[in-house]
């Protein structure tokens, strides 16, 4: 039962990932792509947590945390670049 629910959740996350990827490819502006990238990262974090659950390995959570940290910094840096000033 629970395994089945985790797999359903993984399916939802996968479809969400594909939808966000569509926006990432279509753009049209750089800002649109960064929004899509931000959403893609967060969906990936959910994916990592789901992987940690199915594999039963808590060490993956550290990966998720560092990923969240790096994505936040990445979005801030790209946003500063779009504003045209560092």
């Amino acid at each position: 039962m629970v395994d089945w629910l985790i797999h359903l959740a993984a399916l939802f996350a996968g479809v969400a990932f594909l939808l966000a990827l569509t926006r990432f490819i279509k753009g049209p502006s750089a800002a649109d792509r960064v929004v899509a990238f931000d959403v893609l990262t967060i969906i990936s974090i959910t994916g990592i947590v789901l992987a940690a659950l199915t594999e039963g390995r808590g060490i993956y959570l550290d990966v998720a945390l560092v990923y969240a940290l790096l994505s936040f910094l990445g979005v801030i840096v790209v946003a500063r670049y779009l504003e045209g000033g560092f």
């Binding site: 629910l5 959740a9 939802f12 479809v15 649109d32 974090i45 936040f72």
Partner: protein
């Protein structure tokens, strides 16, 4: 008891990822970058928080670390959206033709 907690956890996971799905759909359907940020940021924040809560139900031993990820996302997710929205506005991103008013642009024009 554990069985019940497991099922609640599984349902929370499904609910959380369902919100991610609607967020992704919003990202595709919304007409301009600001509305896309709105759809993206709200759905992903609640979606991940629910997923993390579900994972805590399934693996209570991971609670502290999951809480840490949750707190971090709760604080940085809206922040990066705001910075991005500001950058989009400053770089003159196109707005949907449905947009009725833009006080920020009006005020910026007034300033020299």
């Amino acid at each position: 008891m554990t069985m019940l907690l497991d099922i609640i956890g599984g349902l929370l996971l499904v609910a959380g990822t369902a919100f991610l799905l609607f967020g992704g759909l919003g990202l595709v359907r919304m007409p301009d970058v600001f509305n896309r940020i709105q759809a993206g940021t709200k759905a992903t924040t609640l979606g991940t928080l629910l997923t993390l809560a579900g994972a805590t139900c399934l693996q209570p031993a991971w609670g502290v670390k999951l809480l840490l990820i949750g707190l971090f996302l709760l604080f940085t997710n809206p922040l990066s959206s705001q910075v991005l929205a500001r950058a989009a506005h400053r770089s003159g991103a196109g707005k949907s033709e449905k947009t009725s008013i833009d006080r920020l642009e009006e005020d910026q024009r007034k300033k020299p």
